[in-house]
């Protein structure tokens, strides 16, 4: 068991969750960036202990290579995560321009309804 890796994953996960629970959109964005890192590390941990093994390039004499599948999965996940984060960045940009706030708490403040609703 790789305690340090497990703790790292938990640490990142916990920190990311704490950040996404904040009011500030920028912190939330950072939270999601960390969250995707944490999940990737979780998958990586499933490839087993790397100690004494080599990278998964075959055909080279030497130590046994590590399990390549989690690495491939993570690569996919990293790229997907990048796409999603990029979308989120632009969504926040748009939200800021439309609603003039960078705080989720203010954005969803019940007192801040549509202008027409106040009239009605």
């Amino acid at each position: 068991m790789m305690w340090e890796t497990a703790i790292l994953i938990g640490l990142l996960f916990g920190a990311a969750c704490f950040l996404i629970l904040q009011a500030s959109f920028v912190r939330i964005l950072f939270g999601f960036i960390l969250l995707s890192n944490a999940a990737n590390l979780f998958v990586l941990a499933m490839s087993g202990r790397p100690d004494g093994k080599s990278a998964p390039i075959v055909g080279v004499a030497g130590a046994a290579p590590v399990d390549p599948l989690p690495q491939a999965l993570i690569l996919t996940a990293i790229v997907i995560g990048f796409g999603v984060i990029a979308y989120l960045v632009i969504l926040l940009y748009r939200t800021f321009l439309d609603q003039r706030t960078a705080s989720a708490r203010e954005l969803f403040d019940p007192a801040r309804e549509r202008p027409e609703e106040e009239q009605a």
Binding site: A77, G83, L91
Partner: protein, 498 residues
Amino acid sequence: MNPATLMILPVALPLVTAVVALMGRRPAAWRRWFTGGSALLQVVVAFALASTAWHGGPQVLAIGGWAAPYGIVLVGDLLAGIMLVLGAVTALASLLYGFAELPVGDEHPLRLPLVQFLVTGINLAFCTADLFNLFVAFEVMLISSYALLTLEADDWDIKQAFPYMALNLVGSTLFLVAAGLAYGLFGSLNFAAIAERSTALAGTPQLTVLALLLFTVFGMKAGLFPLFYWLPNSYPILPSPVAALYAGMLTKVGVYVLLRIFGQVLPPDLPLIHTLMMWLAAATMIFGVLGAVSRNFIRGILSFHILSQIGYMVLAIGLFTPYAIAAAIFYIIHHIIVKSTLFMVGGVVVVLNRSDDLTKTGRLWAVAPVLGVVFLLQALSLAGVPPLSGFWGKYMIVVEGLRQREWVLVGCALLAGVLTMFSMLKIWNGPFWHPEAAGGVHLADARWKPMTAVAGGMTLLSLGIGFGAEFFLRVAHEAARQVLDRGAYVTLLLGGGN
């Protein structure tokens, strides 16, 4: 070409269509013909696959020729076939409805490509037999759904995109963790391999941990209480053709995956999960319908109803007998058609009354009786009035619930039926029966006729499901049998010797 090779078409066709439509850049008539033709072809292909699975049993396509459990395989069993047919039909209908709603010149240039990307993700989720590939399929589906959600949003609608995205991002992350966990525990991501290897783990807590995690993830996609929060406020901001597709398909993908994972992939003896499913389903039913009751505009009411109806399907899955699974499948068949039609009707109401606020709409029963009939039939079907399609699924759930002596759950299901009726009456007494419409009735806006025609076509389909329930029930029973036959599934994918 052998049928298994065709299995790629439900995924490849929309993908190619999307890319070609994207390269076409601007909306144009040819793009509509092309996409519509492709959607029609997808319907044909889906029917062909479903019929192959119905007559010849499940089909397997090993992508790239790499057989399970190492490569990604697509499995076309009857359940997948049914879902593909439903998806293709709903997509075609919403496409045609969209064509009727907007002239080419006003169309958003990205809408058609994104819808096709969304269909790609949905279809892949139905076919795939690999956990990580399912994750990727979900991502394709979700990112397209974010994109479509915000595509035509205005400055206030955009608010709703963030919660939708945030919750689904959390769900995706948990899914990735679950996929990793599954790889750790089973050393494979293939459904059949997991099915085979998890049998040895049956009853161990680590298996239940994985099952709970997967349940959370798919429960969120399906829209179970209390994970459904992303849905009811975000769907109303969608344009009605897209909303019809979302309402029909997106949550049902979650239900489908719950069915697939807990019916076929994981061992059946997970009593904790089944109990959890049933009670959360009951809560979903009641809270969903109460949410609908509390809303005062059609899209809001209908959005909450999606959730409430999800409760029925998940309740059926939780009851977990072949009969109940068949009920769930039948319910899905019914629900997808009915729900998307109702959203379409909502769109027509908006076109006619210039609003779908119940206090501002009216007079439609007098001037547009066809629309009224369409709504009435589908609303009553949703509420479970016999002999419309919604009744049979509810009936089967009640039968199974009573057989298992789940009195409270059956009571909840029946109560939710009454409340559904109530909220549908709320809509009926607004746009249809109310004598005044604040925004007037814009019958001159000719778009409502073709839009109603599409909704009417869907209604005919739904009537067919209701009156021809025998056929659909047989299909559902066979699909349920195929799903629950884990041994055959493992043999099919991994071969007998493995």
